[in-house]
């Protein structure tokens, strides 16, 4: 059953929460000039039980990690230990005002400092900022750092950012936000950056290269050292998109590969839950030369041992977001890393990589796998050979829904036709992997024998396939206004 909108459930006069009796509020705003006050306040009127039932119903219309497999490539949808949530909700973390005097938040500053140190160690870099809100903002941060670096060196003519054609959309979008132009670097037949082309293109106008490694094909760049070396020789810096860090924890430190900056998505690698589309948290790790430019303030320790926020950072790029970043996510990430320990981190990547290769092995043959070599934490298959039966990757994705499995990422990366990008993560057990593989193989058989069932999928959800074209052509982006009866005039 679909669920009515809040506005449709509203009944004039219902109240979910009051903070005082109406009498206690009377006269409260008499001193304010009426021309500064609003008229109607057309919010829905509901009781607490209405609210609870509404959102409980809505929740049941979602798939989620806690309910089932979610092999969304590039997204690292892994299970988050429940204890992370408990820790983040401790009043000593959740109920801190960002502008409390520093002496009253020493524990919180310690969390930040320790997490910075751990992330620096794991990635091999000299310094880390925790401020960016998510990967995309971290990219902006990193590119601003690179700009500041070139600028301080008087190297002002650099304006081109090199980006592999397999890159995530945020990379070119970020370069553009910085006012840079972008040059696309092709992928070679092994799934690596085309080193030859890179060498031709990299020059004194090159700001840098934005590189994801393992790349979005799930493959480790086989000539990574030469790639980064090439950019450095041209005077550019190498920005690492760390969205795929889950593959290489304890396996390699990105700094050792020649990256100069790297962002980390804690909401992928360090297991802060994804919340239906955020919040994230995008720490940025840098080489020592870039450290002076990090956003302010920076957590620092006085000789007395006391921690404080250092605003005195004259070379800083400034602020990226309000306050100090997504502290709640930092608490979870530190909890998670503490649970795993150094040995556990390596186990994570090992299992993530083994799981992906296992699924690749089980599916390849029936599904095309364009770059069929040992992959890292994910691999990209293609639905192109199913096309002969009139079945497209989108159809396969929708059919998976019938089995309560979330479809993999589809049609990305753009360089793979009918792409199906599968990232199982280390959190899943072999039974789950086998079931997924069995279902995928069954769907491949159905494509031949009974494509109708695939075309009509999904069958059992609250809605079937939705008309996205009309949604975009004639956008309906809000409800019809709530009838604001009881709500019409300010009561006091």
């Amino acid at each position: 059953m679909t669920e009515p909108l809040l506005s449709e459930l509203s009944r004039p006069g219902r109240v979910g929460q009051r903070f005082a009796s109406p009498e206690q509020c009377r006269g409260a705003v008499d001193d304010l000039p009426p021309e500064l006050l609003r008229g109607e306040l057309p919010l829905p009127e509901l009781g607490e039980l209405d609210v609870v039932r509404h959102f409980t119903h809505l929740s049941t219309m979602n798939h989620s990690i806690d309910a089932g497999f979610y092999p969304l490539g590039s997204c690292t949808m892994k299970y988050n230990p429940k204890v992370d949530e408990d820790v983040a909700r401790l009043p000593g973390f959740a109920q801190l005002h960002p502008y409390q005097p520093e002496e009253s938040v020493q524990g919180a500053l310690e969390v930040m400092l320790e997490l910075q140190r751990l992330l620096a160690e794991i990635t091999g870099f000299a310094a880390v900022t925790l401020q960016p809100a998510a990967g995309a903002q971290a990219e902006l941060c990193g590119m601003l750092l690179i700009r500041a670096y070139h600028r301080e060196r008087g190297d002002l003519k650099r304006s081109k950012v090199l980006i592999p054609d397999s890159a995530h959309g945020t990379n070119p979008a970020t370069a553009a936000m910085c006012g840079y132009s972008t040059i696309s670097i092709p992928t070679d037949s092994h799934g690596n950056v085309d080193l030859g082309r890179l060498k031709e293109i990299a020059d004194q106008e090159t700001v840098g290269l934005m590189l994801t490694n393992p790349n979005t094909l799930g493959l480790f760049e086989q000539e990574i050292l030469e790639v980064t070396e090439t950019v450095h020789r041209a005077g550019g810096l190498v920005y690492g998109d760390g969205a795929n860090l889950n593959a290489i924890l304890g396996a390699v430190k990105p700094a050792d590969l020649g990256f100069d900056v790297l962002h980390i998505n804690t909401h992928k690698t360090f297991s802060t839950p994804h919340g239906g589309g955020g919040p994230g948290c995008g720490p940025v790790a840098v080489r020592d030369v870039l450290e002076p430019y990090l956003p302010k303030p920076v957590v620092a320790r006085r000789p007395s041992g006391e921690l404080y926020l250092d605003w005195n950072r004259p070379r800083s790029i400034g602020k990226l977001k309000g306050f100090w970043g997504h502290f709640g996510m930092m608490v979870r990430a530190l909890t998670y890393i503490s649970l795993q320990g150094g040995s556990g981190l390596r186990e994570i990547s090992e299992a993530a990589v083994l799981n992906a290769n296992y699924l690749r092995a089980r599916l390849s043959g029936v599904y095309d796998v364009p770059y069929d070599r040992i992959c890292m934490h994910e691999f990209v298959a293609s639905g192109r050979s199913q096309r002969q039966y009139g079945v497209r990757t989108l159809d396969i994705a929708k059919r998976l829904i019938d089995f309560e499995i979330h479809p993999p990422t589809v049609y990305f990366p753009l360089i793979v036709e009918e792409a199906i990008m599968v990232e199982p993560t280390e959190a899943e057990n072999k039974d789950t992997l086998d079931r997924f593989a069995d279902v995928m193989l069954q769907i491949a058989r159905e494509a031949e024998e009974n494509p109708e069932i695939i075309h009509q999928a999904p069958h059992n959800r609250v809605v079937g396939r939705l008309d996205e074209t009309t949604a975009a052509r004639r956008p309906v982006l809000r409800w019809a206004r709530v009838p604001a009866q009881a709500a019409s005039a300010p009561a006091y």
Binding site: R18, H63, R89, G322, S338, A361, V462, G464, L466, D467
Partner: protein
């Protein structure tokens, strides 16, 4: 501890299927000399140990349940009804991804649609997106939007806009050749005064950014500014850092804003030392295709059942790459859900009450403090739930003294406004009790020596 569920036997079977001998063989593409480095990361802790460790860190903070909180400055200690946490705590919400597959994500999608509707109505704007990172990022995106829309290259900011918001705008604009002009704020005998921002507007100006209530708590008539914006063809960008004020105050839409942004933290989001919160963003219909961020639309399936989808994705990075309206990808959906639950629980009456009580208490606080020898309230006109006080001594010093009494005594203006070293911005919400206000006054009185 023990998160990798593969047993040793299973691993063997899987390695065989893959056709390698050991897990290490899967990592051969990594240059050997840097492969499998030592990690100076402590050994795993058990759950007992990790809880002990983190609880000890938490205990080294004094949280606002233990203190009387009179600081706002963009972060507000409003009461969060219990139901908000319970709904956000449904794992179907917090352990799902961005709703790329609508048939499996109607819960998230419908709640995003409801969020957009609520924010549009709250702001009285035509359309809202379904959130960006936070208030400052929303403002930065709004300024970028205005630059794109007007194709101009000058941005005017009121000096009474939250300093962090202004700082973020400035970082986002770095190196783009945009001129940033800011109106000055001065301390006069009559109180705080801001130089008329209308004087800064010209026909190169893409937008004029004002905040209401402003950083010092003031509420002003913005009619003249809106008028002047229209004249010069600049967009009016309106910042609401304290969203509870919209329970009471004339809205951005009513003042004629072209783009309205805000911070949603006040509306049911934990303070959490500054994040994660949720940036609100709304605009006039005509600017819709320049709006960044996720947008959800209503549509139907083949059986004419209503459903919701991510829409207008041609604005977004995953489709348009370098031509996108923004690079934003992961956003703040869970917090937007919190706001949605909060607003639907309060409804018009609850939200009006929260606003009215916050104002009432702030007024009581200001009146009480104005009577203290040595203290002066600097607001010259009406204010909402914050007011600025000139202390007889350094604001940071006063804060430190009051912390010893269990009070967070406002935000010291010294770092952001060098002439206001002795000033504090104080804040009340519906949570502050009369007894706390009395403690605050007594504490302040004790700083006069």
């Amino acid at each position: 501890m023990a998160f990798v569920p593969l047993t040793a036997d299973e691993q063997q079977v899987m390695l065989r299927e893959v056709g390698v001998d050991s897990v290490a063989d899967l990592f051969v593409d990594i240059p050997e000399h840097v492969r499998f480095p030592q990690l100076d990361v402590p050994p795993p802790l058990t759950e007992i140990e990790v809880v002990r460790k983190m609880a000890a860190l938490a205990a080294r903070n004094q949280h606002i349940g233990q203190l009387a909180c009179f600081v706002g400055a963009g972060a507000y200690n409003h009461y969060i009804p219990s139901v908000v946490g319970h709904m956000m705590g449904r794992s179907e919400f917090y352990t799902s991804y961005t709703p790329y597959q609508p048939e499996m994500s109607q819960g998230t999608l419908q709640s995003m649609f409801e969020f957009q509707s609520l924010i549009a109505d709250l702001f009285e704007m035509d359309v809202a997106n379904s959130a960006v990172y936070d208030g400052p990022a929303a403002l930065a995106e709004a300024v970028l939007m205005a630059l794109r829309i007007t194709r101009r290259d000058r941005v005017v900011l009121a000096g009474s806009v939250h300093p962090e918001y202004r700082a973020v705008v400035s970082s986002y604009l770095d190196g783009r050749g945009v001129e940033l002009a800011t109106s000055e704020v001065e301390l006069r005998d009559s109180g705080l005064e801001e130089r008329p921002i209308v004087d800064l507007l010209d026909d190169r100006t893409a937008c004029c950014v004002v905040q209401q209530p402003d950083f010092f708590g003031n509420i002003a008539d913005l009619g003249a500014i809106a008028e002047r914006c229209r004249e010069v063809g600049a967009l009016l960008v309106y910042v609401v850092a304290e969203a509870i004020s919209l329970g009471l105050l004339k809205t951005p839409g009513a003042w004629g804003a072209d783009i309205a942004v805000g911070e949603g933290q006040s509306l049911g989001v934990s303070l959490s030392f500054g994040g994660p919160w949720v940036g609100l963003m709304a605009c006039k219909q005509e600017h819709l295709r320049q709006l960044p961020g996720r947008i959800v639309g209503a549509t139907t399936d083949q059986q004419a059942r209503r459903g919701f989808v991510l829409t207008l994705q041609a604005r977004e990075q995953h489709i348009r790459r370098e031509k996108a309206t923004s690079n934003i990808c992961t956003s703040q959906t869970l917090l937007a859900l919190g706001v949605t639950v909060y607003l639907s629980t309060l409804g018009p009456e609850g939200l009006r009450q929260a606003a009215a009580l916050s104002h009432k208490k702030a007024r009581a606080g200001a009146e009480r403090i104005a009577r203290l020898p040595g203290y002066r309230v600097l607001n010259r006109g009406p204010f909402f739930n914050e007011f600025t006080v000139l202390c007889p001594t350094d604001g940071a010093f006063v804060r430190a003294r009051l912390l010893e009494r269990g009070i967070i005594a406002g935000y010291p203006l010294g770092r952001d406004y060098p002439g206001l070293q002795n000033a504090l911005v104080l804040c009340c919400t519906e949570r502050n009790t009369a007894a706390e206000i009395e403690q605050l006054a007594n504490g302040l009185a004790s700083c006069v020596s």
